[in-house]
């Protein structure tokens, strides 16, 4: 009994070649599913780029409300180009609609913001 307890190299039953192959296949499938899910989740979630673009649009809007320059223009900030358009409003001549769209370097629309503002000189 004491001899059995002190046995240093116990024998291990090896897996068959079939078991190993099936296991490898399973691991491969599970990992590929996991990677697909991870890729999808990462791609679908809002990117930092979008959040940055929204923040920049809000900053430009705040500035535009203070200024009295209502000419359409394209502004380049960081990696974005922002198209800023002004339109008159039917409710009053003292109101103006500001439409802003942020595009990334590839020309893809990242964020959009619209607001009716009171002209600064009113």
């Amino acid at each position: 009994m004491v001899r059995e307890k002190l046995k240093i190299n116990p024998s291990v039953n090896a897996s068959t070649i079939l078991e190993v192959v099936v296991s490898m296949l399973m691991i491969l499938i599970v990992f590929s599913i996991a990677m697909t899910i991870f890729a999808n989740v990462t791609r679908a979630s809002t990117s930092t780029k979008q959040i940055n673009a929204r923040t920049i649009l809000n900053e430009i809007l705040t500035e535009a409300e203070k200024e009295s320059d209502y000419t359409n223009k394209i502004i380049a900030i960081d990696e974005f180009s922002i198209q800023q358009d002004f339109k008159p409003r039917p409710e009053s001549a003292s109101l103006v609609e500001i439409d802003m769209i942020a595009f990334d370097a590839n020309g893809l629309k990242i964020a959009e913001l619209k607001k009716v503002i009171i002209k600064a000189d009113e």
Binding site: E19, V22, V116
Partner: protein, 420 residues
């Protein structure tokens, strides 16, 4: 003996990876949900602010009937806008919504002053000068009779103020006061004619949203006392006799309409009080901005007593005091009396007589036909003694009701009432 068990180990690893993946999906789902919610809230807030801007600038008459429309012709930019007259002011109601999500705001709209018409004093020209004595100070522009301003010695007091008498531009006043806004007066006059069928009897404290129908509360003639109550919001309190408002009553933005109103000493609140005969505010009361006290008679009658508005000692009123009587008899002119140490921040429009006791401070503007001063021995007309009229001391952000003839056509938000 140990077993290799490759398949078992793989299944356990697969389970662990599965758990990690599902938690990743759940986290991503909630993140996306929250992000969409934040974006939608930001859009709603933008649309709500756009609606508020429209109400501030566009002609308000266009919005007396609620309008629902799309701001930019898309499916996620709908707003509902409405303006409701509320005493001397207007209430703006704006609501933006995307499907079931919505944001709303209600606010009081008022007008900034028109600096070309604004003055510390406007007293009509009755071919006699205005006399000042004691520590009287007039700071700001003044519209006074052609006979001018002169120093006077009254009650053993000489004039002790600035040599300039009026520290501002002096202009000639007209034979009558600039008129109050008739449209607004008619709206206020309608409160006296609310049909008794549409009212309910007062029972307890109440609070009403401006997005709902106005609650009209009728106070019983036999117990015309408001005490130990809290009334706030879209509520009109009506009484056909003299209504006593105790200092235990707390009123917040409500309108009170009665034949006569007595505000008991120590009262503190924000309200618009309109009476047909008289308003008496006792001592040490505090009526906060934007409060309005008005004695209004839309129909003239010779049998009625003089329309009186009296403010007791040490009371502080931020807002507006006015009186109006259609076709007032020259011998029974409406009267406003301010007792000692009364402080008014805002505007006084007295169609008739304005009596100022000593140490009255008016930070804002006074429009009156005649001043009145009563000493122990005599009475004086068009004398101002120990009073301060300071048009420059009013905050530049102070906005007024469009009832008074000194405001511009622009609108500003005076106070936010409800917001989510």
């Amino acid at each position: 003996m140990l077993k290799a068990s490759a398949l078992y180990i793989v299944i356990i690893i697969a389970l662990v990876i599965g758990l990690l993946c599902s938690s990743l999906i759940v986290v991503a789902y909630f993140y996306r949900l929250q992000d969409q919610y934040t974006l939608r809230q930001a859009n709603l807030q933008n649309n709500l602010n756009s609606g508020i801007n429209i109400l501030t600038v566009a002609p308000i008459a266009d919005y007396f009937i609620e309008k629902t429309f799309s701001l930019y012709g898309q499916d996620n930019d709908s707003v509902k806008l409405k303006v409701t007259p509320w005493g001397a002011y207007d209430i703006g109601l704006a609501k933006s919504f995307i499907q079931k999500d919505s944001l709303h705001a209600s606010f009081i709209l008022a007008n900034p002053i028109d600096s070309s018409k604004w003055a510390a004093l406007y007293i009509i020209d009755e071919d006699r000068p205005i006399s000042i004595s004691g520590k009287t100070a007039i700071r700001g522009d003044a519209y006074i009779p052609k006979a001018g301003v002169k120093e006077a010695y009254i009650d053993n007091k000489a004039y002790q103020g600035s040599k300039k008498l009026v520290s501002g531009n002096i202009r000639n006043s007209g034979r009558s006061l600039p008129l109050l806004n008739k449209e607004r007066l008619n709206q206020i006059g309608q409160y006296f004619d609310i049909s008794p069928r549409s009212v309910k009897l007062f029972k307890d404290s109440a609070s009403a949203s401006f997005f709902n129908e106005t609650e009209i509360v009728q106070i019983d003639k036999n117990a015309a006392i408001l005490s130990n109550t809290v009334l706030s919001g879209n509520i009109i309190v009506r009484c056909d006799t003299t209504l006593i408002i105790e200092n235990t009553a707390h009123l917040e933005n409500v309108i009170v309409v009665a034949k006569a109103i007595v505000v008991k000493s120590g009262f503190n609140g924000t309200c618009q009080l309109f009476a047909a005969d008289s308003i008496a505010v006792e001592s040490n009361c505090k009526l906060n901005y934007p409060s309005v006290l008005g004695v209004v008679r839309m129909k003239s009658s010779n049998n009625r007593p003089i329309a009186k508005l009296n403010v007791g000692e040490n009371s502080v009123i931020s807002g507006m005091l006015f009186n109006y009587e259609e076709g007032a008899d020259r011998n029974k002119q409406p009267y406003i009396g301010l007792q000692r140490k009364v402080a008014i921040k805002g505007q006084i429009y007295s169609q008739g007589i304005l009596e100022l006791k000593s140490d009255v401070v008016i930070t804002g503007s006074v429009f009156t036909s005649r001043f009145f001063y009563r000493s122990s021995f005599a009475t004086y007309e068009n004398y101002i003694i120990d009073a301060t009229l300071d048009a420059n001391g009013l905050s530049k952000y102070y906005v007024h009701s469009d009832l008074v003839p000194v405001v511009s056509k622009k609108k500003r938000v005076l106070q936010w009432l409800e917001k989510n």
